[in-house]
Structures are given as structure tokens and as C-alpha cells.
Point group: C2
Chain length 236, copies 2
DNA sequence: TATTTAAGGGTAAATTTTTATCTATACCCA
DNA sequence: TGGGTATAGATAAAAATTTACCCTTAAATA
């Protein structure tokens, strides 16, 4: 079934190409695991790592359930999608489950990434060492502002945006992280795409227009805030 | 149906109280709008504000659809949850729709918030002026580290954590934002709860244990990264 | 060694969310 | 002024996700 989308005009950005279909997130995912399950997997990892630190060998869905306030059945279902198989009366082997989830997420080998936008948020992400743990290796930061270009932030030099394309192609960087203000977001995306990136982690509140072979993940603080606001509203 | 959750032990945190039920996010929401719809509402707001700047009076679901690559029917459904009613052949009045969505989210009046954790991420959030736009007014930051206590970050002084309870009660602050490392997250939550907070925006990758009258929204970077990783995996 | 029990696994049902279809309305233009 | 059309609204269908149920397995225990 073809759902054609017309050309459009969004602000100053002209949408030049026709897109055959609006793909749902699930269709982009192309994985049998439901999106909400994928989102929960990192949660299980944090519990698993806690168990590992405590030297515990086994973990059961009820263990997860008690800690995370999730229903045991849901935990079992989520874990099943990674292909792990458990043992009655015991549960899952902690180390094996960690490896299986990390493998499912591709977090056992590092993907190089660029950050575009070395402002407050960009700097914060540069400084977050935990990403290494999640398969993410931030190799450089870019900005347009002469005020930050040349600065060293958390040991990484901020480069001028013009160098992005060349460096990206030479280093075969696969991922771009956009932490610029809304106005610059589409431009940042265009530059990343020219550099041959295949995935974008977008922290700006803008829907980016990208070719179909580039995947975009919007990390939207305002979405989270919206949910919190509606939840809070109930107690007014 | 009562789904009893047993007491448990998570790391050093003992879960003291029994909880009658595991409530789903939807149950906590207590709003007829589906959670994914609520998440999309801020997206519509950004488009609406763009239209407003351009001086356009009307906006239709097809306008949204073309810009956001969402299906028109979904847009209509999402907007319907806010109670707005549109006009055939025209769509919705831009200013009216902005007001309706903001009202639905409670973003037309400010909620005071504390930030606990004045590290990289906390500082970034302190510096983000856009929150005012989303009904959020960050009034103070707290930390335990003598290295940052007393510092002025984006015009706000970082206070010692011990002052949180007293200040929170006196100022009747409703919201707490947790941007401390995992180890300190539960402690930060406990302090906020003692201060009489009713909602927590949790940026740590930890499931917080809170009384039932406190709502928690986890803003989980690793969830987003997990989805992106799985999407990217498809192109390997 | 038999019995009890706390898990996991698979299938099916229920629920929630998304998408489609149909109808009515109001604008536009001849 | 009347017909065509774009778009909202309502209702129904489909798809995705969550939850329940039953069965099996393996460990613990008597």
C-alpha cells in the first residue's frame, strides 16, 4: 500500500523529494522485538550489572520484577526477544544475559560518533564516560561558533563544522549526535549526511528530513516533560 | 485484581513497604490520551510555533503530516485528545491550538523545580532557557560536592544538599530533577520527597523507589540509544 | 527417590494503539 | 447559488503490545 507524501515547505526548508511511504518506527526497526521492549532492555542491564557487582550468578524474572516494578510476564517476554533461554527454578545466568542483551543491542563493539554542537548539552555528552559502555565512542566535536572552536572539552578538541565532511568520510564515522539549537539542526544533519553518516541521534526538538537510508532517533526532552506534566496534572 | 509485590533488596536499598499493585504508566497517567500521543504533542507545538512566526492563521492535519512525516489520521487522533475541535476545509486555528495543547499539558503556568546534581548534565539543564516555555521554572541547584557548592551556574547558585528539605518546604517546590550519578540517585530522590516534592524527572539510569503519591518520569538516554542501535544494526 | 515448588516457555486472550472507512461540513470557485 | 473538494469527526477494523493461562522442567526437600 503506497501512502504518498506531497512535497512541502517547512520554514525555510523545502522538501524536494517525494517519499513513497511514511514508515512507522517499527518498520524502520526491522527487528522482531517491539520498540517498547527495546527501550526497556537497558533497564535490565543496570540491574544485571548491580547483580554482577554483588557476585550473584543467577537472576530470575521475579528478581527483575521486584526491583523494577514491572510485571514478571513482561520481563520474560522482553528477555525472550533477545533469544536468551533460561532455566526453570533458577532464571538466567547473569553474565550470559548481560552478554546476550549487549549483543542484541550491538553494544559489545564500539561505534564511532561525532557530536555537532559543543554548547552546554554537547559538552555534557562529551563528558559522559558511560557511553563507552553502550557501544558509543565519541571521537570529535564540531561547532560553528568561533567562541568554542579550538577549545578542548573533556579532552576532545572542538573543530569547525567545515571539517566535518572530510573527517567523517576519512574516519568512516557512522553516527552523528546533534546538540545544536533548533535553527541549526537541519543544517547539522545535512552536513552529517554528506559525511556519510548512517545514524543520527537528534537532541533538538526538530523533525529532521533525511534520506531513507539514514536512521534518526529523536531524544526529546520535551516529550518526557510532557508525560511528566500530564502525570502531575492529576494531583492538582 | 491485586498483584502483590514482595519486599525486596536492591543493592543497598531495602524496599520497606509493600505495594499493592504494579501500576502501568497508563494507569498513573489517568488521562484518556494514550502515552505515545502525549509524547507527540510537543512535536506539534514546535510546528505550530513555526506557523505562528510566519503569521499563518490556520493549520490542518495534512500540514502537520507533511512536515512531521506522520499519518494525517494519527495527527487528528492525537489532537482530538486535547479537546480541540477543528473546521472542515480549514483545519485548526493556530493560536487556539497552541493554547489548547499548552493547557492540556499544563504548560501555561510555571511549576518551580529543583535540580539535584550540578555536574555536566545538571549545568546543561540549568542553562537551557527553553524550559520556561514548557512550564518549568528551575529555581535552585543542589549538590554534595564542595567543589561545586557555592558556584554560580547560569545565574543560579549551587547550594549544599542539606538545605534542600528546608528550602523545598518553604518554597513549596513541586518538581525535582535528578542529574546525579546512579549511586546518588535514590538518596537525591529521598531528599526531594522529604522536601514535599510531588514529581521527579529522573535522568539517572536507576529505577527510583518512591511513595505512590510521587510520580517519576525517567528520562533515559540509554533507552534512546538502544533504539538507535537496533535500528542501525539493520544496516550492518 | 518421590514430591513439592519455583521458575521458564508457548499459546491464547485482552487491551491498547494505530490505521482505515465512511459521513458530514464548510469553503472555494464557476 | 450550486457543485466539487478538502478536511474534520465518528465509527470500525487492524495491528501491536501486554497480560493471562497452562504446561513443562529442574531444583530443593523430605
Amino acid at each position: 500500500m503506497s501512502r504518498l507524501i506531497k512535497k512541502g515547505l517547512y520554514g525555510k526548508i523545502k522538501i524536494e523529494e517525494w517519499r513513497d511511504e511514511i514508515l512507522s518506527e517499527k518498520e524502520i526497526l526491522h527487528s522482531s522485538a517491539p520498540l517498547p521492549s527495546v527501550r526497556r532492555l537497558p533497564l535490565y542491564l543496570t540491574v544485571l550489572e548491580e547483580f554482577e557487582r554483588e557476585g550473584r550468578e543467577w537472576i530470575s524474572t521475579t528478581d527483575f520484577s521486584e526491583v523494577l516494578f514491572l510485571k514478571p510476564i513482561q520481563v520474560r517476554k522482553d528477555l525472550a526477544h533477545t533469544g536468551i533461554i533460561g532455566k526453570p527454578k533458577k532464571g538466567f545466568k547473569v553474565d550470559e544475559l548481560i552478554a546476550t542483551i549487549n549483543n542484541f543491542l550491538g553494544w559489545n563493539n564500539l561505534t564511532d560518533a561525532f557530536i555537532v554542537g559543543a554548547g552546554a548539552l554537547g559538552s555534557a555528552l562529551l563528558g559522559y564516560t558511560g557511553f563507552q559502555h553502550h557501544g558509543l565512542n565519541i571521537v570529535a566535536a564540531f561547532d560553528v561558533s568561533p567562541l568554542v572552536i579550538g577549545k578542548i572539552i573533556h579532552g576532545k578538541k572542538v573543530l569547525p563544522l567545515e571539517q566535518l565532511q572530510d573527517l567523517g568520510q576519512r574516519m568512516k564515522v557512522r553516527l552523528g549526535i546533534i546538540t545544536v539549537p533548533s535553527e541549526g539542526a537541519q543544517n547539522a544533519a545535512d552536513k552529517l549526511i554528506e559525511a556519510g553518516i548512517s545514524g543520527i541521534w537528534n537532541f533538538s526538538p526538530v523533525k529532521l528530513h533525511v534520506p531513507p537510508n539514514v536512521v534518526v532517533q529523536r531524544e526529546d526532552l520535551s516529550s518526557g516533560l510532557a508525560v511528566l506534566s500530564v502525570k502531575l496534572g492529576r494531583f492538582d
